[in-house]
Symmetry: C2
Subunit: 208 residues, 2 copies
DNA sequence: AAACTATACGAACGGTCGTATTATTAGTTT
DNA sequence: AAACTAATAATACGACCGTTCGTATAGTTT
């Protein structure tokens, strides 16, 4: 992938540019709406040259999901992990997720919401990978909650609480794109606050 | 649509059969994955004959969404409305929604989850209609909650509570299809119970 | 300088897409 | 039985799909 001196080979620059565009397209039109011809035209390169980088449509889709995962991690997970483990981090995770959706890091809203639904009922490598990423994400929330429980800041079932929080995120994302307004984000933030408050151990300082 | 004597004209029988198949396909592969040629082949009729019923792809998609809305209403709204207004109806709405998803009334899970995400970031009549149906559904939950509030069974903001409940439904639906297990439904049911319990006016008999 | 590899290109493949036009069949009405 | 209408089919169209091929160019290695 990378040369020893840190510069990118020519081919990797192209690949990178392709994937940056691909994630944006897919967040709006899905991974099937992401056609190779369209992608090539938008980037001003040849269809065959682009295709050679991936070898198949499915490989392009997988590479696109991997690229989106990196962007997602940078925008949601990394900033939340700058906060100390505990209730503060759980709250940060919620804030950053909602900001990630609201600020349209992907123009179509949350990339994974979009394509997870698209491939939810299909078979194949893309479905498998998306299911794994979803599980990875749920595990991450559960871990953050479990840390807060272990520190005596929250008292609740981490799996249940993670389910609830993630449900608020997703509902806000869909509502905001579908109706092109931002009300859902305030609703979700409120929902998170209420839900966390219901699990907070009395006396714990609260981050909101 | 219907003849005076109640029997269906020949064309309407075809139309009905087409739409029944169309909603199933779309719940798995989306409204774009629903191609006219495929639909015709699966039904053993000609592409052109099928096409003549709708006149355009978009009209077929709209008709499919309308057909799905009817099925949705029959499976979720109607049975919940057999329960008296109040907390009981809110609970029934939740139960029937989760059953509707779990029993795979549509093979790909909730039809509207699927296609609402597919068209969330697009423009056109299908998007508009799906947004309207979503709003209609949220209004319906809000009304059910508001009735319970008015009867003194619940004390909460109907809009907020409706948002939360709907979020649980959708999260359970996605999780169950993506991972092909039913755990999400128990999580969601539990989430609904907890959330309703937090809003229940003390002394109110509880339906679960 | 020669050999080799990486990258990109244009052209073409068989298929499927949505759509339009024209023809044929089946049902109803007179 | 003839005439008319509604429903279905046959055929064809141009556009685009993912994919393959042969080829040209640029960079690197020997």
């Amino acid at each position: 992938m990378e040369k020893v001196d840190g510069r990118l080979a020519r081919g990797d620059q192209t690949r990178r540019a392709v994937l940056r565009r691909a994630v944006d397209i897919a967040s709006v039109d899905g991974l099937e709406g992401l056609s190779i011809g369209r992608l090539a035209t938008e980037l001003g390169i040849s269809k065959s040259g682009l295709f050679a980088h991936f070898g198949s449509k499915e490989e392009l889709q997988l590479a696109t999901v991997r690229a989106a995962r990196r962007i997602y991690a940078d925008n949601v997970v990394v900033p939340a992990y700058e906060i100390e483990p505990g209730l503060g981090r759980v709250w940060a995770l919620s804030r950053h997720w909602l900001d990630y959706s609201r600020s349209r890091v992907f123009p179509g809203g949350c990339f994974f919401q979009k394509v997870s639904h698209e491939f939810s009922a299909r078979e194949g490598a893309v479905h498998e990978y998306l299911a794994a990423v979803h599980q990875e994400w749920m595990d991450l929330i559960e871990t953050a909650v479990a840390e807060a429980v272990q520190r005596g800041e929250l008292a609740d079932d981490p799996v249940q609480l993670a389910f609830d929080l993630n449900a608020y995120y997703e509902a806000a994302n869909l509502a905001s794109i579908l109706h092109n307004d931002e009300n859902g984000y305030d609703r979700a933030r409120q929902a998170v606050r209420i839900r966390l408050a219901s699990a907070v151990v009395p006396g714990t300082p609260v981050p909101w």
